[in-house]
Structures are given as structure tokens and as C-alpha cells.
Amino acid sequence: MSSIQDRVIGIIAEQSGLEPSDVSLDSTPEDLGIDSLGLVESIFAIEEAFDIAVPFNANEPEKSEFDISSVRSIIAGIERLLAEQS
């Protein structure tokens, strides 16, 4: 089974129509051409892939406990949710 990082990058690459090699840890959703709807769809794909519930309200993304500012922060958020769940 691939690492959390590889799986998240796979999901984000698919959403943005890029190759996984083009998605860096420092990329922001904006850099990758992911708009607000694409972001909501990515979060859904992440929830499905990891069987977790991600707290995210599109009206106040900056206030969300789940930091979506970069690929790195998204991965960190998922790791935390998985740790809390287990």
C-alpha cells in the first residue's frame, strides 16, 4: 500500500489533470488550478480514500481546522485525522 503522501498526491493530480510528478508538497490548490468546486471534490475523494470526515466549510476555508493552504498541509491534516481516529 502506498504512503499517505503518494495517495494524496494521486488524488490531487487526478483532480487537477496533472501528472503526480508535477504536484509538489509546496503547491497550493491555486497553483494546481483547483477552484473552490474542485477543492470540495478533492476533499470528498480524500474522505472516501481514507474513510475519514474532513471538517471543511467552503464559506470560511481559512477558519477550518483543516488547513488546505498547500499539499503538505493537507497531508499533515489527514495524518492528524487518521491518528485521532485510531
Partner: protein, 403 residues
């Protein structure tokens, strides 16, 4: 062209089971939003909404009717009885042949759909009630309304998400204005507050978990409501000749499509609809005293709507009042424009502006007079009602005080 007036209004929604109760709630700034009550609500992360409470369908309808009437049809008929009763019209002969019904609705019989999917998928049943289809179809409410009141003219349902009612009422206006029929019954109805209905909305991540606070800097999303509002649109000379009580005049409308994004609103699309309605109604900008905003309480809608109003009205934008009554009755989706038209009628007829309640923090991107938290008295000559739907479909109505 014929002038068109409103001679009857009816409603049932979370603020009241008729027009007087609803207007009183709007004047008092009461909130109809509370904890949702229906099966499986514990599986939702969004558990608030503006449900019609204290309502017993069996008091209003008999068993045979209830077998055919989804909740959105029940709401329609209750509101229509009030509206047509107020208008004092009886449809027979020539009038019955020409008068029809145009309603806005988005979800159809969502509760019927939800219950029957549950029964075949979750409970594994292989038989459903014979009336599932006639009960859930989007035109069921319009059809039952036409049957109950003998309306035999143009009758159909318009479905444009959150703008459904405004599109429907604009179409009804046009039919009377153009002389096709002297009377139309119009408005909208919606009942999506069931497990599947709210679950679908939850997925979009735009719903608030605590309150609908339009224009407030700390707003965090929309809240769903349910109900109906129905109006009688009548040709002015006919209404005068029979001595009808005239609630307001409908003077124009406009519809536009953003042609850009399936969910994000567009300032240009909204502004073109507002400008178009003013042009159609031959109203000067500075005559507009009140706008009932679309004002959903989402981050995107409210700032876009305020920017559109500022663009269209220029300096007059700071003189007019704009409130979102969704803060009280929540978002009735396909029925929302109809319930919101009641606030426009109250502004024009009673000189009372319904407030935007739950307003806590000013947002520099919504720097208009949003009538925060308390109703206000003011004389208004012209009122607009905005509706900007998902899918980028906009419809704005213009009403004038009838004196």
C-alpha cells in the same frame, strides 16, 4: 400592454402558517430556524433548518388527498386557498378557461422520493405505492392547484433552482401583461427537508451548522427552509372594476444567464438582471427604496450581490435598503422568491422593511444598508426582489406601491 396587480397572497412557511403570521414574524425579526426533526437526522452533520412546525396534514386534507399530495403539494394548496380566498375570485366560464397556474419548484416530491428509495434500497422491499410518480413529479402541485380551483389556462412548473419562483412569477406577469389571460395564479413551493435532501446539500460544503447570517462578516453558509407562497396576478382594470383590494403592482422583470459557472455567482450576471428589471419596469434607479436580496449567507453570494447592487445603483446604493429575509425563513430554494415577495409587498403596502436578522459583524464587502436585526418603517415606492440561482440563472422582479 396591460398593467398587472397582485390581488391575493397566501403562504405557509417556518415563520407562519398564513400571510399575517408570516409578516408579523418578519416585523418582529423572529427566526424560524431550529433543530431539524425527521428520520435519520442523527446521520447528518447539518442539523438545522426552517421547518414548518405545528402542522398536521390530516387537519387540512383527507386520506385520499394525502395519498396523492407530497408535502410540497400540501403547502401549495394551503397557500393557494389563502391567496385565492383573499382575491375573492371564483373560476368559471371564460375566466376559468383562460386563467392558469405557473409555479416554481426545484426538488419536486423530495420526501416521497426519499421515503420510497429508503423502502426499496434500505428495506429491500419490491413493491411501492401506486401513486409514487404522480406524487413526486414537479408539476404535481401546479396540477392539483388547477384541479382544486378549476384553472384551465396555461399551467406548468418552472425549475431553475433558487430562482424558480421568480422565473415563474415573471412568466405569469408576462402572460397577464401581454393580454393572454386576465388572471394567473403563481408563486412557488418546496419541501426538501428530509434525510436525502439535506444530505445532498451537505456534500457541497456550503451549509451553516449554526445560523444564516447574510451580509455579516462572520457568515458561514446557507440554511434550508421549506414552504410555499402563492399569489393572484390580475389585470389592473379588471381588479378595479370588481373592487378588489390591490396589494401591489408588478411593473417589470428581467432574466439573465451568467453562462460561466455552475455554482459560483457572477456580478455581471446579477447586475444585468437588476438593470434589466429597472429598464423593463421603466423605473429610475433613485425610485428604488428596497431590495429583497437573494442574500443566502454564503461568502460568495453576499459579496457578489452587494457589488452588483453598488454597480447598478452607483451613489443611490447607499440610500436604498437591502435585506435578506432568509435570515428568518431560511432558503426555500424553488419557493424562496415567492416567500420573499411577501417582504416586498409589506415594504410597499405597510411601509415596514423586514430586517436581516443574525447580523453581527460588518463586512466591508457588503457595505450597504442591510437593515440589521430590526425592522424599520419607511415609505417605499419601488421594491426589487433578487434571485440568483445555481447554474448562473438570475431573475429579478420589480414591484411598485399601488396608490
Amino acid at each position: 400592454m396591460k398593467r398587472v396587480v397582485i390581488t391575493g397572497a397566501g403562504t405557509i412557511n417556518a415563520l407562519g402558517h398564513d400571510v399575517p403570521a408570516t409578516l408579523e414574524s418578519m416585523r418582529e425579526g423572529r427566526c424560524g430556524i431550529g433543530e431539524l426533526e425527521f428520520r435519520d437526522v442523527e446521520r447528518l452533520s447539518i442539523r438545522i433548518g426552517a421547518q414548518v412546525k405545528g402542522y398536521d396534514p390530516e387537519v387540512r386534507f383527507n386520506r385520499q388527498q394525502l395519498a396523492l399530495y407530497d408535502r410540497f403539494t400540501q403547502f401549495t394548496l394551503i397557500a393557494a386557498r389563502e391567496a385565492i380566498g383573499q382575491a375573492g375570485l371564483e373560476f368559471k366560464g371564460e375566466l376559468a378557461a383562460r386563467a392558469g397556474v405557473i409555479l416554481g419548484n426545484s426538488g419536486g416530491g423530495m420526501t416521497t422520493l426519499d421515503e420510497n428509495y429508503r423502502s426499496v434500497y434500505e428495506e429491500g422491499k419490491n413493491r411501492v405505492h401506486p401513486f409514487v410518480v404522480p406524487k413526486l413529479m414537479n408539476n404535481a402541485a401546479a396540477s392539483h392547484l388547477s384541479m382544486e380551483f378549476n384553472l384551465k389556462g396555461p399551467t406548468f412548473t418552472v425549475s431553475t433552482a433558487c430562482a424558480s419562483s421568480n422565473h415563474a412569477m415573471a412568466q405569469a406577469f408576462q402572460m397577464v401583461h401581454g393580454g393572454i389571460t386576465p388572471v394567473m395564479v403563481t408563486g412557488g413551493s418546496e419541501s426538501m427537508l428530509c434525510f436525502g435532501g439535506v444530505k445532498a446539500w451537505e456534500g457541497l460544503r456550503v451549509m451553516s451548522r449554526d445560523a444564516c447570517r447574510p451580509f455579516s462578516a462572520n457568515r458561514n453558509g446557507m440554511v434550508q427552509g421549506e414552504g410555499a407562497a402563492i399569489f393572484v396576478f390580475e389585470e389592473l382594470e379588471r381588479a378595479k372594476a370588481r373592487g378588489a383590494d390591490i396589494l401591489a403592482e408588478v411593473v417589470g422583470f428581467a432574466m439573465t444567464s451568467d453562462a460561466s459557472d455552475i455554482v459560483m455567482p457572477s456580478k455581471q450576471g446579477a447586475a444585468r438582471a437588476i438593470e434589466g428589471a429597472l429598464r423593463d419596469a421603466r423605473v429610475n434607479r433613485d425610485e428604488v427604496g428596497y431590495i429583497n436580496a437573494h442574500g443566502t449567507g454564503t461568502a460568495a453570494n453576499d459579496k457578489t450581490e452587494c457589488a452588483a447592487v453598488a454597480d447598478v445603483f452607483g451613489p443611490h446604493a447607499d440610500q436604498l435598503m437591502i435585506s435578506s429575509t432568509k435570515s428568518m425563513h431560511a432558503h426555500l430554494i424553488g419557493a424562496t422568491g415567492a416567500v420573499e415577495l411577501l417582504a416586498c409587498i409589506m415594504a410597499l403596502r405597510d411601509g415596514i422593511i423586514a430586517p436581516t436578522i443574525g447580523y453581527e459583524e460588518p463586512d466591508p464587502e457588503c457595505a450597504l444598508d442591510v437593515v440589521p436585526n430590526q425592522a424599520r418603517e419607511a415609505r417605499v415606492e419601488v421594491a426589487l426582489s433578487n434571485a440568483f440561482a445555481f447554474g448562473g440563472l438570475n431573475a429579478v422582479l420589480a414591484l411598485r406601491r399601488f396608490a
